[in-house]
């Protein structure tokens, strides 16, 4: 079991409310991702759940039990840090065994559990090494091994992949997702990478300046963003926004169109523009178009042979997929 509940949680650092007031319920077994721009309070929120920070006010419950004043050691949560935070003076084996040792497990069972965890994470050959003799990816695995070796109520991850190179990141992303499917334990995962958020999460919490902008499944957030901030944050490349009279035609203060929701033409369309940079990824191409009156727009296309730098194009948004926002930026 591992449900997590935050009730009106506030965290203030030296007079500045980093988390003004957050309420959130995470169900047992869910994979939740906290996503948001740098400094929005993702780590702080995770550390509040972990117990590494004290709440300024509000209540935190684990399995419906109030743990607001329970020290981290007693919360039975496992955490993977961005820096990995391995114990440098211990071998890989000792690192992974540490939580079991703290729980007072007997040696025989402990050895077996460590061996199991090492096998799952391909660390069997490295058990007697010290962390400094491992690569970044291997250290990452040890950190995960240390987290999964016991059965915690939930796993907390703070940007665990941000120090890895791109291909390793993709591989580890898959491994963590698989691990979740296998263990079915609640996971709370912090990232500022919206691709990680989209691909891994059951539900995403979009944070901005310590507030929850939206809480929902990745597709809910993509299809029905609650406001301009979420619309701009979820989806890559970013949504294009248009204000003024053209938005007024759709009876909105501003409208948003995703790069993949345009029709391109050489002869006629809603907005005229000139192609600036064309980013070719092979499978698709992103055209950055300087439009007349609406600034730069990004278009995702598969017709890479037809459009080149300097060409004039006409863009027509897919009328069924236009997002409308009111003056306050809320979805209308």
């Amino acid at each position: 079991m591992g449900s997590i509940q935050l009730q009106n949680v506030n965290k203030t650092f030296g007079g500045h409310a980093v988390i003004p007031d957050i309420s959130l319920r995470i169900e047992d077994g869910e994979f939740i991702v906290f996503v948001g721009p740098s400094g929005c309070g993702k780590s702080t929120l995770l550390r509040l759940i972990a117990g590494l920070e004290d709440t300024s006010s509000g209540i935190i419950k684990l399995d419906d039990k109030d743990v607001t004043d329970t020290p981290p050691a007693k919360r039975q949560l496992s955490m993977v840090f961005q820096s990995y935070a391995l114990y440098p003076h211990m071998t890989v084996r000792q690192n992974i065994a540490f939580p079991l040792k703290m729980a007072g497990m007997d040696k025989g069972l402990m050895d077996k559990k460590v061996a199991d965890a090492a096998r799952v994470l391909n660390l069997t050959d490295y058990l007697d090494r010290r962390p400094r003799m491992l690569s970044g990816g291997q250290r990452q695995r040890v950190a995960i091994g240390r987290a999964i070796v016991r059965e915690p109520k939930a796993f907390l991850f703070d940007e665990p992949l941000s120090n890895l190179d791109a291909s390793l990141r993709v591989a580890m992303r898959l491994e963590i997702t698989e691990l979740h499917q296998q263990l079915k334990t609640t996971m709370v995962y912090v990232t500022h990478d919206q691709v990680e958020a989209m691909t891994m999460a059951d539900k995403i919490v979009v944070l901005n300046a310590g507030r929850i902008e939206q809480f929902g499944s990745p597709l809910e957030l993509y299809r029905a963003p609650a406001n301009r901030f979420v619309a701009g944050f979820i989806g890559s490349p970013r949504m294009n926004f248009v204000d003024g009279a053209d938005a007024g035609k759709y009876s909105a203060h501003s409208i948003g169109v995703r790069p993949e929701h345009f029709a391109l033409s050489r002869t006629a369309g809603t907005w005229k523009g000139t192609i600036g940079v064309a980013e070719q990824l092979g499978s698709e191409t992103f055209l950055h178009v300087h439009t007349e009156g609406h600034g730069m727009m990004t278009i995702r296309t598969h017709d890479e042979d037809d459009y080149h730098h300097g060409d004039t194009v006409y863009l027509t948004p897919d009328a069924n997929r236009i997002y409308r926002f009111d003056k306050a930026g809320l979805a209308a």
């Binding site: 972990a50 117990g51 590494l52 020290p71 981290p72 050691a73 007693k74 039975q76 949560l77 496992s78 955490m79 840090f81 820096s83 935070a85 391995l86 114990y87 440098p88 003076h89 540490f98 939580p99 040792k101 703290m102 729980a103 240390r146 907390l156």
Partner: protein
């Protein structure tokens, strides 16, 4: 900005370094040389070549018991160092990993106690020792040297602990370590080099401390500092004998320092030398 190190420059620096080292070490060297002279030679004026006699040593051993003050010095320096560490480890942990608004002030205040001349509190301290029956008692000296060196021990440990990433201690907490276990299994093993050099340096400081040890002892608890002092005052100028006594007093700590050079250098540069 790497500057080219020419051989001439390097040789120059080497010679300079040796000269400075010799200058600093010279008083000790001359004491050792003098201890192997006769009283006549010692009084005769500056000379680097002793006759090599050990009569001063025989004289010193016949006049005073060396081993009692030696063991007193060991008990006082080691005892006060261990006691200081027991107090300083939790104090430095709190200041390094759980600082408050006033942590800086507390650190400065501790350091400021070292700025006051000890003589300023001699009379009150003497009276306290007199009234509590701690005069000329080993436990009294252990206590006062603990207090005298505590600020330095806390500062040194604080500086070492600051180097340890707090993430690692937090990881231990997440892994279920209570505070004592966090200290024993994670913090202390990681801080071993720092603690070792703090320990060594503090033993040396306590061994050499002469103000309180001389004034608060008479016979029973007198350490080697008092042993040296007893050769200097009443009998006039017996330089060779005084030098022999001094050499005997500093020899153990000089040996300790020699064998633990590496640790000590790390300690004094606060880990800057890796």
């Amino acid at each position: 900005m790497a500057r080219a190190v020419t051989p001439a420059r390097k040789a120059g620096m080497t010679i300079l370094a040796w000269l400075v080292a010799l200058l600093i070490f010279f008083p000790i060297l001359y004491t050792i040389i003098t201890s192997f002279k006769t009283e006549g030679e010692a009084a005769a004026g500056f000379s680097l070549i002793p006759s090599g006699t050990i009569e001063s040593y025989i004289e010193v051993f016949s006049q005073r018991d060396y081993f009692k003050p030696f063991f007193n010095s060991v008990i006082i320096s080691v005892g006060s160092t261990i006691l200081a560490l027991l107090v300083a480890v939790p104090a430095a942990w709190a200041m390094a990993f759980s600082p408050t608004k006033r942590t800086r002030d507390v650190l400065m205040w501790m350091l400021s106690t070292k700025m006051m001349p000890a003589a300023g509190v001699l009379v009150p301290m003497y009276l306290i020792f007199l009234n509590t029956g701690m005069l000329d008692k080993l436990h009294g000296l252990v206590l006062i040297l603990t207090l005298v060196n505590l600020p330095i021990v806390v500062w040194m440990l604080y500086t070492y602990f600051k180097e340890i990433p707090v993430d690692i201690l937090e990881a231990a907490r997440m892994d279920g370590a209570t505070l004592p276990k966090e200290l024993i299994y994670v913090l202390l093993p990681m801080a071993v080099p720092g603690i070792a050099s703090t320990l060594l340096l503090n033993i040396i400081l306590a061994w050499n401390e002469a103000f309180w040890t001389i004034r608060l002892t008479a016979v029973e608890a007198a350490p080697l500092t008092a042993f040296i002092a007893s050769f200097s005052s009443p009998q006039g100028q017996f330089l060779a004998k005084l030098s022999a006594a001094s050499t005997l007093a500093i020899a153990p700590i000089l040996l300790l320092g020699w064998f633990s050079q590496k640790q000590l250098v790390r300690g004094l540069t606060f880990g800057a030398v890796k």
